[in-house]
């Protein structure tokens, strides 16, 4: 990596700011080095959230989702999700081509839905975006990734979970992991995210506190790609008329499982 231009670039900035151009300056308090008392309070609040408070957040999520055309469906347990998904797949037609197929993350909650079994009678194949161990190798992985990519492009419904869901902005938060391809929430015409009630948090403040300072959530950090999804893809570029489904999914559903 050529860093010679970096040195010149940065020293130009230093002299523009009136500092000596050669000496690297310390980062005095510019970055967060430990959680502030406010952050600790936020983490405490999340940890001690009662069931009633979680229900309240769910209410807020539903309220904020409505104006952005995001469908929130509250369901008791995984079997209820499976039934709802099977109905949806029966009702909805594919946008491109005729064959219905579904692509999902490799994720414990999604696996517990047993989708391939539930969709067998409809003749709808279910693909999982997981690379096999031996395929992770650069040489063999390429072909396997091409195969998965084709399934994602051909599928009209993508099923994911999420890390969190922010009620205040009705936003799903997804980090990137093996088995959980990012294009599952992007390329299919309909995106369904299945989450637990206790994954709902209030807002950005809570999210950033969690992924930076919560013992468990901070381990992975932001990962190499963290995405917020707030509703279906939309555009208003033709005479300011709102149209859904510009490039991403035309419809987005959040299935919230309330049983714990």
């Amino acid at each position: 990596m050529d860093t010679s231009n970096q040195a010149a670039f940065i020293s130009r900035i230093r002299s523009a700011l009136g500092h000596s151009s050669h000496q690297r300056r310390p980062a005095n308090g510019l970055f967060t080095s430990r959680p502030t008392s406010e952050i600790n309070r936020i983490l405490e609040r999340i940890k001690n959230r009662s069931h009633a408070e979680r229900q309240q957040l769910l209410g807020r999520l539903i309220e904020m989702a409505e104006p952005i055309n995001l469908n929130v469906v509250v369901l008791k347990d995984p079997p209820a999700v499976t039934a709802a998904l099977a109905d949806l797949i029966r009702d909805k037609d594919p946008e491109w081509g005729h064959q219905k197929s579904v692509v999902t993350w490799a994720h414990p909650l999604i696996e517990s839905l047993n989708l391939s079994g539930a969709l067998a009678d409809q003749n709808v194949p279910v693909y999982i975006t997981e690379l096999k161990e031996s395929d992770a190798d650069e040489k063999f992985g390429e072909k396997e990734r091409e195969r998965l990519r084709k399934h994602i492009v051909d599928s009209y419904i993508g099923v994911t979970s999420a890390d969190f869901c922010m009620a205040e902005t009705a936003s799903l938060v997804m980090r990137t992991r093996p088995g959980q391809a990012r294009s599952v929430s992007l390329v299919p015409s309909i995106h369904i995210a299945v989450i637990h009630l206790n994954q709902i948090i209030a807002d950005l403040k809570e999210l950033y506190a969690l992924i930076q300072w919560d013992t468990e959530s901070s381990r992975e950090g932001l990962t190499n790609c963290m995405t917020f999804i707030s509703g279906p893809s939309k555009t208003a570029d033709v005479e300011a008329t709102m149209v859904h489904g510009a490039h991403g999914p035309r419809e987005v559903y959040i299935y919230v499982v309330t049983d714990s």
Binding site: M1, L131, S171, A181, S183, L222, S233, K234, A246
Partner: protein, 477 residues
Amino acid sequence: MSEITNADYIAEAKKALNDPVLQNALADLQARFGRGTALAYRNLPEGPDLRLKAHEIRAKTIENLDVVLETLAENVRKNGGHVFFAYDTQAALDYCLATARRHKVKLAVKGKSMVSEEIGLNTALIEDGIEVAETDLGEYIIQLAGERPSHIIAPAIHKSRKDIGKLFADKIGIPYTDDPPSLTRAARKALREKFLAAGIGFSGCNIACAETGHIATVSNEGNIRMATTMPKVHVAIMGMERVAARLEDHDVLLRLLCRGAAAQNMGTYVSYVGGPRYLQQADGPDEFHLVILDNGRSRILADEEFREMLYCIRCAACLNVCPVYGKIGGHAYGHPYSGPVGAVVMPLLAGINRSKDLCQGETLCGACQDACSVNIDIPRMLLALRAKLADGDANWQVSRASIPEKGIYILWSWIIQNRRVYELFLRLAALGQCLLPKNRELIRRLPPPMSGWTRDRDIQPVAERSFMDRWRSGDID
């Protein structure tokens, strides 16, 4: 600055004023977004004062930009990404082209990015034999039409649905329709093929985060996610000021950005990208490159009078309230930045003399500052630019815009400082104006060289007797 074309401001403005479609579109845009954004600020839990906090955050970041950028670069590299610091347009283009050539790219897709307009990325790619597809629907329309964006967030605001219908029938061969959903669907289909075939995806960066080593991009359409997920290589280009030190700064800046841009609580898609795909991941780019661009920004940084302009996060809220932008639209400003932000940034980037009409055309009404998501004092800087044009400035290589104007002001200043001369001037003016054509007490036309004043408006005549004269003779109660 290959792509910056200082169009003839006056001619372009006239054209815009005589275009009824554009006038309606601009009025509609401002009525909705201008008011919507103000309301969205008021509905913040912290209220509109959050903008002041954002101003402080931006000030602190810019004052420490060297440390913040070094940290950003270090962390992006730690995540496996490449970082390139580009001093100017040429360096940035060379890097982008070299990256594309190395991967033998034939087709590039681009998420909406103003800085790529600034460096003329499209032209450079096309000259190199690489097809490039704009993927934001507005940008795609503009690209098909061979035009330039006229608004930072709504680039095709100047085109009617009929224009777009004809354009699509002509260029992508669909039967004519002027139905927005059908047009959007046609573009969705055409661009989906591009996303899947492209070898490289270019994006901008709304705000990077130094301490985590990520860039953040915001879009409603999903085109940026497509362009940065599907191709094998992702190149993000950012102006060097588009960075925050801490993740918690993003809480404030992101909320304000989305409200300023489109009166939204949150854009549909926000993506933090910090490096290439890990080995075991099924998708995402194999390579991630971040190009950090100076291109005249360090010069703005060095001048404390204009440093504040680097706080801008390009939400375009100022365009949606500006009475001048609301009438003349984006094209008159010369590209790529228009409206109040353009009226300050363009002279500083492209030359103050060359872009003088931009800062002189604004009204100084202050609406832009009230709408600004980070509360930048744009009117102050417009005035500072005008002062440089009036007196010349060696630092910025500004020559006096008008020597006769300066002469007139020196003369005027002498007149008003000498009571007798001033009174003589008033008396002569009161007598002289009898010869001028009038309409309902107002003077219709002044003789040259003042005729420009009365070309589009009438002027109040000088009173027959001055106030002081009436005061002295006791005619005032």
